[in-house]
Symmetry: C2
Subunit: 321 residues, 2 copies
């Protein structure tokens, strides 16, 4: 029944209007529908796409334990206080839990203005073959169409999910803690590449000034690429709501810089390119791994382990038939 | 010239024999060739594949700063001391450096038996679209064919690269430090899923017993799946070479368990399946993104940003023509 409901969603003007006006129940159901990879999800996404483009996308990433969620929560509260509507997509590639986690389990939504103006979605991606970026883009588009002024994309870890977030966000904020000092050597190359802005959280702890200094030193050595702006490093104590206004000022400052230099449109083009590549690549895989090819793979696995054939030959056979 | 040399490599019995006998120069050149994605690399990999299957693959992962490299180095030294030949593949998804890093910059190879029996390769994967698993598998096969008894796959971070390593390795070791306590909540779901064995490194530091206890508690709650064995948790201080013999005993114990229960062959089948899927998927993308499709994408990006079309419609057009 649900499927039929959504099959006709495209045609029902009322439902589209409800989404655009921010109806939480409907937004939530559309996201679930799209996440479940239902066959005609593209129809819905196509219809909604023309309402997108207004939301500014903030990526928040960093190592586990850096306090990304707390930073996100503070930022959400500040944005709502300033009159904005906010969407949050929390991507946790290590979580086995999906979908359901909405309002309430993250920000304490005692304030009615928060309840009204914030939509939070948790997404788990573990196991989905390259599915991270694709789903995040879809959910981002739905929230964007629903009239959000800001969308915060929060992800844990170093590695692929962080990269994907940087591809999707307009401004990428990397959160570190004084304790990261140890590991900064390991991470700096990657984080330098994607950060538009650094936050040293828990900056009342020992080592905050050292990490600030070493970070600034490293930033001097970096090759700036197209974005010539000096990368900000902000000290914050999110648990005490300290440094959040400065963070927001830096984010909006970066946004203005992008827009006045023409880099914003370039960035949006690049985002669209990544989005299309994700859609195409997942479509290619879906088409290829039909029952026949899955069977052919299945019956030959043992032969590979026994060295009667090899993965490269079998791949060619799969391609060739 | 190099290409011609390798084009004929398949036919030159001498070169194949050199690789199988562990000729470092040739192994190194074949890896570079394969990493560069040369057209006929599959011919070489096919020829070598029948010599694979002997090496036991150990994955070592964990958060940045946990001491994975030090653990790896200690393990390498112990294995060589016991008469084994060892290959190391260090995958750093955040590093912008590629290829060249070989012997000497990691383990201090002052000992001639290390120089002789160890081959270390660093691989950077940042930016390669889903390329991690594929290249790692190829390099793994080359090292396996070259007569290594053990291959250690070391990767940083939580997220995709960690998952890929777990798919490739026979035994996956997750390294944590007492300071990880903070972040264990965030990571436990994912790490529980992939770990065959935990190491608490730097276990002389404050909090080591707490993390040990909380880890063991969590392990009790886990759903064991097919592998019913109790997951070991080992304390180590890699910088002082403490706990490494116990670690190796646990690894070989896990290997024996897999082999006596028939799980080893199942695991190798699953590894072959993942390997083929990677080869096929990268082939699909390579075929699809020819000049014509790349151009079609390029000229339509601006239209997407201007909402004249959308990513879903353009993807269908790319598929349809």
């Amino acid at each position: 029944m649900v499927q039929i409901k959504y099959l006709t969603l495209k045609l029902e003007r009322d439902n589209i209007e409800k989404i655009i006006n921010g109806d939480k129940r409907l937004i939530s159901r559309v996201i679930t529908y799209v996440e479940n990879n239902e066959d005609n999800k593209h129809d819905i996404l196509k219809t909604l796409y023309k309402y997108t483009g207004k939301a500014y996308k903030i990526g928040i990433t960093g190592p586990p334990g850096a306090g990304k969620s707390t930073i996100t929560d503070c930022l959400v509260k500040l944005l709502v206080k300033e009159g904005f509507k906010v969407g949050v997509i929390a991507v946790d590639p290590t979580s086995p839990y999906t979908g359901g986690a909405l309002l309430g389990d993250r920000v304490r939504m005692t304030d009615s203005s928060l309840l009204e103006n914030v939509f939070i979605r948790s997404m788990a991606t573990r196991g989905s073959l390259g599915g991270l970026c694709k789903s995040v883009n879809d959910v981002c588009n739905i929230l964007d169409a629903s009239g959000k002024d800001f969308i915060i994309l929060e992800t844990v870890g170093v590695g692929q999910s962080e990269l994907d977030i940087a591809k999707t966000a307009d401004t990428t904020v990397v959160v570190l803690v004084p304790e990261s000092g140890d590991s900064i050597q390991a991470m700096k190359a990657g984080l330098m590449e994607i950060a538009d802005l650094f936050v040293i959280n828990k900056s009342d702890r020992l080592g905050a000034d050292e990490i600030l200094t070493s970070l600034k030193n490293m930033l001097h050595l970096r090759n700036p690429g197209e974005d010539k702006r000096e990368i900000g490093v902000i000290k914050a104590i999110a648990s005490r709501n300290t440094g959040i206004e400065e963070l927001l000022a830096e984010i909006t400052g970066h946004g203005k810089y992008l827009k006045t230099t023409g880099l914003f449109e370039k960035k949006r083009c690049k985002q669209a390119e990544n989005e299309i590549k994700e859609i195409v690549n997942s479509g290619l895989q879906k088409n290829f791994w039909n029952e026949k090819n899955r069977n052919l793979l299945e019956i030959n696995l043992k032969k590979i382990v026994d060295k009667e054939t090899d993965p490269y030959t079998l791949s060619e056979e799969l391609f060739g038939q």
